[in-house]
Amino acid sequence: MHLAFNEDQATFATVLAQMLGDEAETGFHPVADWGRFDYGTLLDARLEEAGFYDAAAEPDLGTLSAAAMVYEVAQVPVTVECAASALLRPFLGDDVPRPLAVVVDDAPGGVRFLPQAKALLSITDGAVRLAHLDGQAREVASLFAYPMGEVARDTLDWQTLDVDPATIRTLWQIALAAELSGVLAGGLASVLAHVRERTQFGQALGSFQGVQHRLATDAVWLEGARLLMLKAASSRAPQDASLALAHVQNHATRIGYDLHQFMGAMGLTLEHPLHRWTYRARALRAEMGGAPMAFLDYAEARWRAA
């Protein structure tokens, strides 16, 4: 048991933090025409050029660093397709393009990142299939702070990949847990900055115990979620992955409510970045069936033979 990054992982995290600290590329910029998301094209290109999306395949970095990266990238207001590229693509074989959109169990409706994606990945119990995209997808309006798209899936040229569907499903649970934990952590940081500064009744909002206890409880849940996610990324065990995803999805609703509550009316505007986190969280908390399905996955793994 040793809960600190190794030297390579620490260096990786430091360089990533420097890149994410570039406000011009990663900071909040309102989007015209009531836009809900801001795709970080420059950040995405820099991450790709620097090889960050390949970390999972590096023995000294591995899926742990890849998941930690997804967690960190999710905390900035701009959105990039990071989770699938960092945690799935290195295990899908050669010539898999990115950005990558993912659909699980052929879930209906819009798919995150589909407008940007060069390929759509389909994960079912029986197979993992890939379809290259070349302009077939169309962007659809959405409440979520992601580019959402649709495509006539039955018209695509699907190729079955020579990978284990269960392994890819587990990796996707870890990726979603990392992204959701990071998105909520980014939102929490934004709200903390607000309640430290905003005064009412002559004192900072964040000095009221009613506010403190709820945000502190959120922080406990999130830190637990982050550690469960890192453990799952380290072990890649299905039981760990489903638990990590279930735990963060389970608490996401309450945390999201608290974040909006304490940001007040300002948090309901598109001029403020809060929605960039909370409306990514709303999409992620329902992925793969949401917390109830992830809890059932975990129960099956832990107690099936008990």
């Binding site: 048991m1 040793h2 809960l3 600190a4 990054f5 190794n6 992982q9 742990l64 903390l192 309640v195 430290r196 002559g202 004192q203 900072a204 964040g206 000095s207 009221f208 115990q209 506010v211 403190q212 206890h213 945000l215 502190a216 409880t217 922080a219 406990v220 849940w221 830190e223 637990g224 979620a225 550690l227 469960l228 890192l230 453990k231 380290s234 072990s235 638990l243 279930a246 735990h247 389970n250 917390a291 109830p292 809890f295 059932l296 975990y298 129960a299 099956e300 832990r302 107690w303 008990a306």
Partner: protein
């Protein structure tokens, strides 16, 4: 970052389990039914802990000078997990191992170390902690029990409450005020008071958390020599802060909760009730609370093992441990209510009595939330 146990850790855990399999009697569930502070379990600890000490398993993390073996911090925690998982057969002596002994090593005089540490290391000492008072619970610094210097002695007068293990304790780790209330924390000192000193009266308080677990302790003109004082006058708060930093995650409660959850699931399966997806999902939700708490506690231990100064990890962990305990006992109450009546189920009853006190004992969870807010989230202090 490595979330797995070393072979050495696993071997140590196996050794502890072997010891427990060998030494716990067949009626252990009956003994453990009423909690670590009960008369039965305290008596048992006086048979069990000397055997543990003889096997080198009571204080392996202590320095060799004081009966330990300088073993790694992680082994101390593995020991705690295994002991709590079966209901803590060390009884109140877990406190000696976790924090009273280490506090004495750090702040005690040579005479105090020589007087107390050998008995602790041998498993023969029962201590109680004289902290809370009727008017000083979470606000511990407002305590009013007074220790007035009189030549080479102190006269102690006052009352402690919610004192676990006091009914059979040899010694009290007592907080008392040596100056006025206006001097706040700077006038608090610690005294190591033999419980057979004239003027001490102990009364058990019937409670929901086990027979003979909590007490009132009255101090009426109790005279103790100044050599009973631990550290200097005014140093008490510093010492107690060090002690509480150990106590906050001192009990690995998630381990018993996790194992009791397995027992509950086994019972539900036997009844054919675990096929219900709501039951399965709720069981997993309780498990998630346990595993999150486990990792938050492990982070505290990891920081200690790496020699890092105490941060806020213990405050976060303590809140999570409370949630885990409650999640598991609530799951049992929801789906196995009959186990809490009649003959019931000893394991579930024992866990419930331990779980309902989690958010109160060793500092209210709300105090931990205050600390998380201010120290971890950097939120301003209220007016």
């Amino acid at each position: 970052m490595d979330f797995t146990w070393t072979e050495e850790n696993e071997a140590f855990r196996a050794r502890v389990r072997d010891f427990l399999d060998r030494e716990l009697p067949t009626n252990w569930d009956d003994i453990a039914r009423h909690g670590p502070g009960s008369h039965e379990q305290t008596e048992f600890s006086l048979e069990f802990c000397p055997k543990l000490a003889e096997a080198g398993l009571l204080v392996p993390h202590w320095p060799a000078q004081w009966g330990g073996a300088d073993r790694p911090t992680w082994e101390h925690f593995i020991m705690g997990e295994e002991m709590w998982a079966v209901g803590e057969p060390r009884g109140g002596q877990y406190m000696n191992v976790n924090w009273i002994g280490p506090v004495l090593m750090r702040y005690g005089s040579d005479a105090q170390k020589a007087q107390y540490l050998p008995d602790m290391a041998a498993g023969r000492a029962i201590w109680c902690q004289g902290f809370s008072e009727p008017g000083a619970g979470s606000d511990l610094a407002s305590l009013r029990t007074k220790a007035i210097r009189d030549g080479d002695d102190y006269f102690i007068n006052g009352q402690k409450i919610w004192t676990s293990y006091a009914g059979m304790a040899d010694t009290c780790f007592l907080l008392a005020r040596t100056g006025g209330a206006d001097q706040g924390r700077s006038a608090i000192a610690i005294f190591l008071v033999p419980m057979d000193t004239p003027g001490i009266e102990v009364r058990a308080i019937p409670s929901l958390i086990g027979h003979g677990d909590i007490h009132e302790v009255f101090f009426t003109d109790v005279r103790v020599p100044a050599s009973c004082r631990l550290g200097e006058e005014g140093e008490g708060w510093t010492i107690i802060s060090y002690a509480l930093a150990n106590e906050r995650v001192g009990i690995p409660r998630y381990e018993m909760s996790s194992q009791v959850l397995d027992v509950m699931v086994g019972e539900l399966k036997a009844r054919g009730a675990f096929g219900n997806s709501i039951v399965r999902a709720k069981a997993a939700e309780a498990a998630a609370a346990c595993e999150a708490a486990r990792l938050l506690v492990y982070r505290v231990v990891d920081e200690r093992a790496r020699g890092l100064p105490p941060g806020t990890a213990a405050n976060l962990a303590r809140v999570a441990v409370v949630e885990a305990d409650h999640a598991v006992t609530d799951f049992g109450m929801d789906f196995l209510p009959d186990c809490f009546s009649g003959d019931g189920h000893l394991g579930l009853l024992a866990h419930h009595e331990r779980a309902i006190v989690t958010g109160i004992a060793a500092g209210a969870a709300e105090i931990q939330l205050n600390l998380v807010a201010r120290r971890h989230l950097d939120l301003p202090k209220g007016a």
